[in-house]
Symmetry: C2
Subunit: 389 residues, 2 copies
């Protein structure tokens, strides 16, 4: 007995080994600062918790439609209108089991065996694995620090090949936190459209932008798919709920796929999510957003002072992607070894860049500022001592 | 823009059209009896609801490990010991987003492009679509009514081809409710092993067996995978939680797949599930099982009296798979037309056999006895009138 060949192209998260090590150290009594996981430290908003409890008390535990609760699709449509002033029909919004579910649906919908999507290197590691899972490919396009690690129209044109059917980008991006402007998205969309391909925009960090807003691509054209999630801005990670905005022509096939692959998204999670759009809850989320902004304003210069170089300006998500090549202990250009040594000596856990792509990942690390400023400050002091040691 | 080729091999559930029609009729004030959906009418057990509420109040809304909460894996291991007297290491148990998640993981783990699994016709329709999704195939083996529609060793041998890597069977089966005996499973396992293939046993209707127990294949050999779910016996459909028991050699790859495809199963659902194994809760579930048994004892002879022929003896799940070819209104041998006409004229919704396979599905229908006996009796009376009209 052996595993299928696709398993060779699917990597585990390197950070998982580090996380296991961190947990073991914690169990041994060490004081660990977790800046490695892509998850807000905030718990789910009280309104959502209460709505979830209400749903359970009412016995809302049966299947919903595969496309999700109609009232939640409507609530998301209303949210696009109130927040972005954009009209999106609820019929084009599909509720999914996390953004993971949306990425799976899109991969299955669009990509035939041997076909590929252009992806950014660095980028979210699962993207290429969703494609490998259905025997497609992700072309990891090495992006440039000077271009904020974005997929530029030029790079898209250069890397497009006969088997390319589209491009997948994230704004704000994981691991860089960089945002694509309206003009950048439109220019990329033009290239993709010229090639008769499609554009997929991962907007799961929307709402978590600092000093600016991110542009949504929901109404760009009928070759555009938008992925979003309740996990990040809405702090609902463990509930596993996201959504997908897709062109009309794709909805019937997406419904068919979702029926077969998932049956339906979680019912209690969907009822909980209905409460997230209430004004009081949005106000709470905006307060948290302001806290993330303060953390970024503290951590970015502090890291730069220590010699970390941050080429792509982080304006969103909760990440800083930092070049370690000028630092002591990083002479080996091995980000995993750097992260392990940092963890062992200081108890600070961060993610090695090798999780996000092949180019430059060996001399980059990602910090998630998912802790309060006093904790971040403690981490910075520990790292300072480490770098002097 | 067009969908990928795999979409041509993935069918929607035909029953969805019927369900939409039923809901529309209901909205127009018609009294509909729902015997079409594969979902217990019971709500989730109170213990699970309370545990879910407790988890939400404590803020247990963050990610768990991709393999699930260690304490839930342990609880399932303990359950195998107490209920089946079988030792299963928690390390070989993986929590999944529904049995759907487990079926996805197994398909991705085992089946390369163009390879296939033997499936039963009739059987659960999604099985072949999970395979089509990853560009594999399901060989729908026409099974015989005289053999309770099971995949026999002879049929497995006859249908095995160079691209076959294993067989997937369900016991109790959907749509028939028939159970494979220990001897039948072992004999099938021998054929599969002789071919150096693997055996996957879907045990999601375990616990819902009447007058007998079903044998679990969890400890059969290291080429055997077992799928189970909290949806049916435990009545947790909308929570989307299941599990997978896999051989040791497969666990690392399964973990890697789950990390990438799902990140993790629902956290509130996992905490809720922990309460399901408490003695009081099991007692409640056993009371419900007894009710299902009474319903079966009522409905089966009642349908047979009306002229429905039930060749495979239903002993589990909550289904009766009935041949309509001798009935009035079924002369066209079109089970979808029969179900639609029945729905329109009587308000009784059942599922056409064409959802479960290609052979004979056009003259079979599936009844789900997910309603109390007075409601079932009402349905029987309406059908009787219909058949006389």
């Amino acid at each position: 007995m052996k595993s299928a060949n696709r398993l060779k192209s699917i990597a585990p998260f390197h950070v998982m080994d580090l996380l296991a090590k961190a947990k073991q150290m914690q169990a041994e009594g060490r004081d660990i600062i977790h800046l490695e996981v892509g998850e807000p430290d905030f718990s789910s908003p009280k309104a959502a918790i209460d709505a979830g409890i209400g749903a359970l008390k009412r016995g809302n535990t049966h299947y919903t439609a595969a496309t999700g609760l109609p009232e939640l699709r409507q609530a998301i449509s209303d949210f696009y209108l109130s927040r972005y002033k954009k009209q999106v029909s609820p019929e084009q919004i599909m509720i999914t089991p996390g953004a993971s579910g949306a990425l799976q649906l899109i991969s299955s919908l669009l990509v035939d065996v041997g076909e590929n999507l252009l992806l950014t290197d660095p980028g979210y590691p699962c993207n290429r694995h969703f494609l490998a899972n259905i025997n497609g490919d992700g072309i990891l396009v090495p992006t440039e620090a000077e271009q904020d690690f974005h997929l530029t129209p030029t790079l898209a044109k250069e890397n497009w090949n006969d088997a390319t059917i589209g491009a997948l980008v994230a704004s704000p991006s994981n691991p860089t936190g960089a945002i694509m402007s309206k003009q950048q998205i439109q220019a990329l969309h033009k290239v993709v459209t010229d090639q008769q391909g499609c554009l997929i925009v991962d907007e799961i960090y929307h709402g978590l932008t600092y000093g600016c807003d991110a542009e949504t691509a929901v109404d760009l054209a009928d070759n555009v798919f938008v992925i979003n999630s309740f996990s990040k801005y809405f702090a609902m990670t463990g509930w596993r709920l996201g959504w997908l905005v897709a062109p009309e022509w794709a909805m019937k096939d997406l419904d068919k796929l979702a029926q077969n692959l998932f049956l339906a998204p979680s019912t209690p999670a969907q009822y909980a999510a209905l409460a997230l759009f209430e004004p009081d809850c949005i106000a709470e989320l905006e307060t948290r957003r302001a806290q993330f902004s303060l953390r970024l304003n503290y951590l970015l210069p502090a890291l730069e002072n220590l010699g970390f170089v941050v080429p792509a300006k982080p304006q969103g998500a909760f990440y800083i992607y930092a070049d370690i090549s000028g630092l002591k202990h990083a002479l080996s250009n091995d980000s995993m070894a750097f992260c392990l040594k940092l963890l062992e000596q200081t108890g600070v856990a961060i993610t090695p860049g090798i999780d996000f792509g092949h180019q430059q990942g060996h001399h980059f690390v990602r910090f998630a500022y998912t802790a309060d400023i006093p904790v971040l400050s403690d981490a910075v002091n520990r790292i300072a001592t480490f770098l002097k040691s």
